[in-house]
């Protein structure tokens, strides 16, 4: 986590709020979070792109021992998700009990609170996923 920082949170907001990633103009591969150099072909020509909002769960787990700042939310589920446009990312699954999750279930993006920077700090938001 490092020190709680407002600017560090603020500069990523567009990407975190709206699932905006990168697409390589040369090979077409998509990434989240956005990047400057393509991992696949090395090209530096990447554009911002709005990623698909639906996908499926590749793997998941329930976090029971939290890091700092997530104490109030435990237990919560994190998952590796593959969006319908091929982008893979890591996020939380919400509105679901761990027993209801299976690998492969379809999920849709939803805007949620991630945590607070301490009780009197700013609120951090992001995209989580819930079962369709």
């Amino acid at each position: 986590m490092g020190v709680e920082s407002v600017p560090r949170y603020w500069r990523e907001r567009r990407y975190r709020y709206r699932l905006i990633g990168s697409e390589c103009k040369k090979c077409g591969r998509r990434y989240y979070p956005p990047r400057k150099v393509c991992l696949n072909c090395g090209s530096r020509e990447l554009t911002e792109v709005k990623l698909a909002e639906t996908g499926r769960v590749l793997s998941y787990t329930t976090i029971r021992v939290p890091p700092r700042g997530f104490h109030e939310y435990v237990p919560y589920v994190i998952a590796l998700i593959e969006l319908d446009d091929g982008t893979k990312l890591l996020s939380q699954l919400t509105d679901v009990n761990p027993e209801e999750i299976k690998t492969g279930i379809r999920v849709v993006a939803t805007f949620r609170k991630v945590r607070e920077q301490s009780e009197d700090g700013i609120i951090q938001y992001g995209i989580k996923f819930k079962p369709i």
Partner: protein
């Protein structure tokens, strides 16, 4: 109040959290034997007024089919903003892709703040200052544990994108607003839960303002209750809206589609607007709806809305209120207390 230029609803959306707690469960913990409604919607631990508003707005955008960047104003009416000081409107705007060139503001007037936002947006569009505007009514209402209000205070949001009448699925025929200094429900700075004045919130507050606003509107538009297909009132519980219905001369059939409090509770600034969304979900073209909100403190906004041919095709583009209501997960009082931060952590 009428506008010189026609203004209407271009898109609408509602959002109801998935969690529900039964009133009998709350009653179990606090020793009550009679409950005012069946169950209420509870925001999850990662939800707040901003997150619910974003989801409702996304649904409204689906129905409106406009580029978010064309929205010129974002007004959110709520009494439970995510911050005491820092606008929710700007976070919502960023989250749905609305541009920086907007008039954005949070408004407070208890449960009528959503319709008050709507009044303001109507004015901005009618004046030609903006092309489209977004009005949201949303709350994660908190009730003092064990108090009457805890049985009904619920979470929900509704978003309305307004624009010119020609592009709308429903058009505003006229509106009226009524406000007096009536302290029936309030919350002081630094207090976690609100207070209310029990039976005083009835006749001098809820009934007076709704009746006066409704009568003023119907008089100006020369309309009678029978001219309306539907009526939607603010719903603090099941009894009040039905009683005011009778008092004004409406019948229960007109109120049914918009009467959702028994299943989701009182979503405060979302209440009458979610009721309106539920009514639009079933309305056919050419039908007239009366919507009257009530906010403690106190005031009411009343609107007469007539649907157009565009309603059928637009409503199908996003989840109906009935679909949102059918997605439910029941929680007990322990999880309810955990989710709604009623447990002391420090």
């Amino acid at each position: 109040m009428k506008t010189s230029v026609g203004v209407g609803i271009v898109g609408y959306g509602a959002y109801i959290p998935i969690y529900r707690i039964k009133d009998t469960e709350i009653a179990r913990v606090w020793g009550r034997t009679r409950v005012p409604i069946e169950e209420k919607a509870v925001a999850g631990p990662d939800e707040d007024t901003v997150t619910m508003s974003v989801e409702a707005t996304k649904y409204a955008l689906r129905r409106a089919m406009i580029d978010p960047k064309e929205i010129g104003a974002v007004y959110i009416g709520t009494e439970s903003p995510s911050y005491a000081v820092k606008p929710s409107a700007t976070i919502i705007a960023e989250a749905v892709g609305i541009s920086d060139e907007i008039l954005a503001v949070d408004m407070e007037f208890a449960c009528r703040a959503g319709t008050t936002a709507m009044q303001n947006i109507i004015g901005l569009i009618a004046s030609g200052m903006i092309r489209y505007g977004l009005a949201i009514g949303a709350d994660v209402a908190q009730g003092r544990p064990g108090d009457e209000l805890e049985f009904t205070a619920a979470s929900g949001a509704a978003a309305f994108i307004l624009g010119k009448a020609e592009e709308s699925l429903a058009i505003f025929e006229g509106s009226s607003s009524y406000a007096t200094d009536t302290p029936d429900f309030w919350r002081r700075e630094g207090e976690y839960y609100p207070r209310h004045s029990y039976r005083f919130t009835g006749a001098p507050a809820y009934f007076k303002h709704i009746i006066d606003a409704s009568k003023a509107l119907m008089s100006e538009l020369e309309l009678r209750p029978s001219d309306f297909n539907y009526v939607v009132f603010h719903q603090p519980n099941f009894k009040f809206p039905l009683r005011v219905c009778k008092m004004l001369g409406f019948n229960i059939e007109q109120a049914k589609p918009g009467l959702i409090v028994n299943s989701i509770g009182n979503t405060y600034a979302g209440s009458s607007l979610i009721g309106l969304a539920a009514t639009l979900d079933v309305a056919r073209p050419g039908e007239r709806i009366l919507v009257v909100s009530f906010g403690s403190g106190a005031g009411s906004d009343a609107f007469s809305i007539v649907t157009t041919d565009l309603i059928e095709e637009r409503k199908a583009r996003a989840p109906l209120v009935s679909e949102l209501m059918s997605k439910r997960k029941y929680i007990d009082y322990a999880f309810y207390a955990k989710f709604r931060r009623k447990i002391r952590m420090r």
